[in-house]
Amino acid sequence: MKQHIKLSVGPLLFGWPETKVNDLYLGLAENPDVDILYLGEVVCSKRMIAGIDPIVRLADELKSCSKEIVLSTLAMPCGEHELQTIRDLIRAAGERNLAIEANDMSAVSIAAEAGVAFVAGPHLNVYTPYALQRLSTLGAMRMVPPMELPPQDIPSITAQSGVEVEYFAHGKLPLTFSARCYTARARGLSKRTCHHTCFMDPDGIEMRSLDHEGFTTINGIQIMSHRPFTVLNHVQELRQLGVGVLRISPQHEHMTDVIHRFRAVADDMQDGREALISLGGDSPLQQQFCNGYYHGKQGRVWIEDR
């Protein structure tokens, strides 16, 4: 029998108002196709207007939904205030027997000391078997490889580690972090005076090249891919590479549809390519998605099946 592939919904990377965040996750709580939910702010601490309380409250509300709940930490904690946010989140996770997703070595260190299990997030730069083994001894129970790592390299890193592999499977790719807020900059503001302007953009804002081609997405201090990345048509290959969890990154629309199709393909109920075409609608796939990283190529491109 084939191994059951779990589906996760990754941490929301965009700035959404609390009610919209709660609607998303409370809706997902009812969705039988999803196994794991990641909650928490990864990109910008300024979005955590009420601190970690709304995240912890939501985690408590989701307790009865029989899904694994993981609390995600900030990827680039720079000052004491941001480190304290991570400490508080890890303490809350420990009290509830939840794991965290560590997106910075500070979170690894704090979680290891507190004895809280963690998922090694995609921003930890785990590129070698040694790095993963070391994290495993510190409490890593799962890892999300960096998206730029070709999946063919995954088995050589994860073999013998006993660490479950989660692959970023669908959504706009988080590509960078900066001290500067590009959303604020695009609107003539600065990070300090941002007025939470990113809350106006549920899927970020588009950055185009001067010949008007879609290039990337601006999401606060982060730059993301322009089009969503997807491996809906490569689920079986990823299974063979030892991937146990497929991550779907939250987006403004069509979440239920995307999740449902991944479930159907993972369960061999639908062909991956067919599912992708029906998800994509009428326009050509290369105009809608990117998958270059899956093929070890430029992340922005779309490569047809060989």
Partner: protein, 338 residues
């Protein structure tokens, strides 16, 4: 906060032997370099050192009272670890004064095989807080970390109050506007990245296309800038390109200015920083000589009398003459940049 006043060492770039000698002759305390392979994050064509050149460079530096740090700061490719560990071996055998590492596999390797060789955490490890620095110190006994360009000077001072790990900051040259080690823009566009191939916006992907009244710059086919006929065009780094956002065209991420902290030197010396790093292993011998000379004069002047320290006009002129876009931003060290 009152961190002790420290006169920081000046850590200078060398992409080849003539640049190394220029840096030493111009008063650099330390020269940093990499070997000619993918084991360092400046794996540019025509750059870097063979074993023989590195040996000659280290001898020259040591004879003149300077030190040499060797960067092995990319991650080994699975199955090809030997290519990276042998770079660490070579650095140790040649008598390098420190190795600059980012991957935990290499940090561990160096700690086990060469415990007395100083280990510096590369900026590529993207450690931007004291918890991360203490983690690397505890696990791999690092003595220093190069900080990513995401912190303000205030952040750095507070960080230094809370860690025993020495810190090194960039003070001059091209400005990474993203957190180093956390940027995949280059592999997104070209397939090659700093973390995996040791390159950003690699030259092989650059095309200049003369149009009727513009010069178009493409990176692997993506239009990343467009210049008027007589406009100065610097090296086409992705994040310094011109794009459109919110209906406006321009430098959406960053202007092509170079970093310049001359004005901030007294504050830097009160922030507990151990070393100042000059970017530019890909630059010419002349560039290295000019920037190192200016920084040497400025650091000496500031250390001698911080109260009456003033930036000299000639320093700024010399820096601007060799810097892309002029040396005129304090980057993330100043809060308003963000």
């Amino acid at each position: 906060m009152s961190s002790p006043f420290i006169k920081p060492e000046l850590v200078c770039p060398a992409g080849n032997l003539p640049s190394l000698k220029a840096a030493v002759d111009a008063g650099g305390d330390v020269v940093y370099l990499g070997f000619r392979n993918a084991s360092n994050a400046r794996n540019f064509e025509g750059l870097n050192f063979s074993a023989t050149e590195a040996q000659e460079g280290i001898e020259y530096a040591h004879q003149h009272g300077a030190r040499v740090y060797i960067a092995v700061n990319t991650s080994p490719k699975p199955g090809q670890e030997k290519a990276w560990t042998s770079s660490v071996d070579l650095a140790a055998e040649l008598g390098a004064d420190a190795v600059i590492l980012s991957d935990m596999a290499l940090l561990d390797y160096a700690k086990r095989h060469y415990p007395s060789l100083r280990r510096h955490l590369s900026v590529q490890a993207s450690a931007c807080n004291y918890e991360s620095l203490e983690f690397y110190h505890r696990e791999f006994d690092i003595t220093r970390a190069v900080l990513p360009r995401v912190l303000t000077l205030d952040d750095i001072r507070i960080l230094n109050d809370r860690t025993s790990v020495e810190t090194e900051i960039f003070v001059s040259g091209g400005l990474c506007v993203m957190a180093e080690g956390r940027c995949w823009l280059s592999s997104f566009v070209t397939g090659d990245s700093p973390n995996m191939q040791g390159v950003c916006s690699p030259a092989h992907a650059v095309r200049f296309e003369e149009q009727q009244d513009t010069l178009d710059v493409r990176l692997d086919g993506v239009l990343i800038n467009r210049f008027a006929p007589n406009e100065a065009a610097g090296y086409p780094t992705l994040c310094k390109g011109c794009f459109e956002a919110e209906g406006k065209q321009g430098h959406v991420m960053e202007e092509p200015y170079s970093l310049n902290v001359l004005e901030m030197l007294p504050d830097i010396m009160h922030a507990g920083i151990s070393a100042l790093k000059i970017e530019g292993r890909q630059r010419t011998k002349h560039y290295v000589k000019e920037v190192v000379s200016v920084m040497r004069a400025a650091v000496d002047a500031c250390a001698a009398d911080p109260q009456s320290y003033r930036t000299q006009t000639t320093w700024v002129e010399r820096m601007n003459a060799v810097s892309e876009g002029g040396a005129r931003t304090a980057g993330a060290y100043a809060d308003e940049w963000r």
